[in-house]
């Protein structure tokens, strides 16, 4: 067995062992009065629950095993340089367009944050590992440049945007996988939009207009709330408009799923970290971030893909 495979196997066994300790040892006791962590597991069903953990880990291993020879996971000199370029570009763009350097216009609470196209494009063009690094490290440096401090959960979320954008490389049937991605993204977009209609009173926490005294406290606008559906429809349009140019369609659809899953992760983690309610995390944070991002993705990512393709043809690489 090669060294890389052994390492992955060892990490998964360690995770399994941790779960076993938590479920069988800590889970058997009653939680202490008012304890913040409640590890108590119903011992009658603990075995069947543990089986699910084993299945989950087995799936993770199977995915790795089946795709371990896939060149999507390779990290050589090229990938190292692409990672650094992607992260630096993402940091510079997100710093320049965050409203402090150039005053970019905003429409109905949606400010222009085009930088998100960078992790999506780098993930698509150079693979999930480069995509993850671009998003996570780029976001970290972008925040550091602005001086806003770091929020690790948003860096990981941005990393996931790039990671998922590169996952198309793991599937042999591009068309089928693209359709599956469209269904999942559509369902998530509709569900979160529905949540917006049920919680119209939430504030748009990402909208700042210092001149008019708005610090993320204005009620979320209809456009910001529905941007995710508009973005989804745009991406759907690109998918069918570029039927003959599979690269553009793949980049936009996978980028869309990455954007939804990555930002959903970041927003939901704010429930644990900042004590937000579920509705505030989804309607106040996720929708105003993920919706407009989809619009930028549907327009800027195709531009980058087409330009990159023509330079590759010219240079013969």
């Amino acid at each position: 067995m090669d060294k890389k495979l052994t390492n992955v196997l060892i990490s998964l066994i360690v995770i399994l062992a941790l779960f076993a300790v938590v479920m069988f040892a800590l889970g058997a006791g009653e939680p202490a009065e008012g304890a913040l962590f409640n590890f108590s597991v119903d011992q009658a069903s603990v075995v069947s629950r543990f089986v699910f953990v084993v299945i989950g880990i087995a799936i993770a291993f199977a995915v790795y095993f089946a795709t371990s020879s896939n060149k999507a996971w390779e990290v050589g000199t090229r990938e190292v340089v692409w990672m650094a370029i992607g992260a630096a570009l993402y940091a510079v763009f997100s710093w320049l367009f965050n409203g402090t350097v150039f005053v970019v216009p905003s429409l109905s609470q949606v400010s222009l944050r085009p930088a998100i196209a960078i992790p999506m494009f780098f993930g698509f063009a150079f693979g999930p590992v480069v995509g993850f690094f671009t998003g996570a490290v780029g976001n970290m440096f972008g925040d550091a440049l602005t001086g806003f401090g770091l929020s690790p959960q948003w860096s990981i979320g941005n990393g996931l945007v790039g990671f998922v954008s590169g996952m198309w490389m793991l599937f042999s049937d591009r068309k089928k996988s693209m359709d599956a991605v469209l269904y999942v993204s559509g369902a998530l977009a509709l569900l979160t939009a529905l949540l917006f209609f049920l919680n119209r009173g939430e504030a748009n926490m990402l909208f700042y207009d210092v001149d008019n005294g708005i610090f993320g406290d204005q009620q979320i606008s209809l456009f910001a709330g529905l941007a995710i559906v508009i973005g989804f429809l745009l991406a759907l349009g690109v998918r069918y408009l570029f039927r003959d140019n599979e690269e553009v369609a793949t980049a936009v659809t996978w980028g869309m799923l990455g954007n939804i899953l990555g930002l959903l992760f970041a927003a939901l983690s704010d429930i644990v970290i900042n004590g937000f309610s579920f509705a505030a995390a989804i309607v106040g944070e996720f929708l105003p971030a993920a919706g407009p991002n989809l619009i930028f993705a549907a327009i800027l990512v195709p531009m980058l893909v087409v330009a990159y393709k023509s330079t590759r043809t010219q240079s013969g690489r």
Partner: protein, 291 residues
Amino acid sequence: MLVAWRYRKRENSLIQSFDPRAWVIFYACYLFATLSFWDVRFLLPFFFIAFFVLFTSGVKWYEMRRAFLFIVGFVFFFALLTFLTGRGGAEVYEEEHLIREFTASFSILGWTPSLKVTVERVFFAVSQLVRVSSIAVMTILIPYSLNPALYGITFKGVGLPDKFAYAMDLTMRFIPTFGRDFQLTMDAQRARGYELEKISGGIVQQVRKLGPIFVPVTIHAIIASEDIIDAMDLRAFGVGPRTWLDVLTYRMRDRILIAAGIFLLAGSISLALAGYGSFWTPEALIKMFSN
């Protein structure tokens, strides 16, 4: 130069007197330890640690004023929002004890605005304020106090593989370069009549008009990377373990800081597991306002 790092060497700074690896480890322990509690009595020591570090950091007020005011405004606003709506806190307490209820003398479309001030809401807002500002103050200091030239070796030192640590280092070098490229492209496009400041139209039009600046900078960066890849390949990058220009060595004070961080984290998690540190309101206040 378009991009300037906020770090500079400060002689009288406590943070900067430690090895950056030790500081990163301590920061991670501090972060997770703070997240274990909602009890304001347990959170106050963390709050004091954060402000102690801030006041001994040597960072001048004028350097961090903007970022600091932004974060403080943000934290205050959130605490106020949870207090006014009473949402958010509902996950950590079930019963509320009313102190006073304010009801507006008017109603809008049958809805009369009212504000319930309860013991739980007040204490949840205070706890949230202390918890989030402790983390924010510690975090905000990082870009001001960690030397960008040491990022690569720091990440290598905390266990990241060579390739990823080197990628971090390269990222730091590329940022000022791309800042300059952006400025050059912007000037070139301006000379041809492009005006970023005046882009108008609907959102799709506006995003489309960012293309002339966005695409050339990105594609130019990718093309230019070929030279760097060639140079690295010629020097056999990635063939064996690499050496670094700067060498970091742990001193006694760094070991003590790491030990303190681990002790803080282990202690906090043990306390939290034993049932201490969950949301707290003073008994006396509850008695005073129970019906």
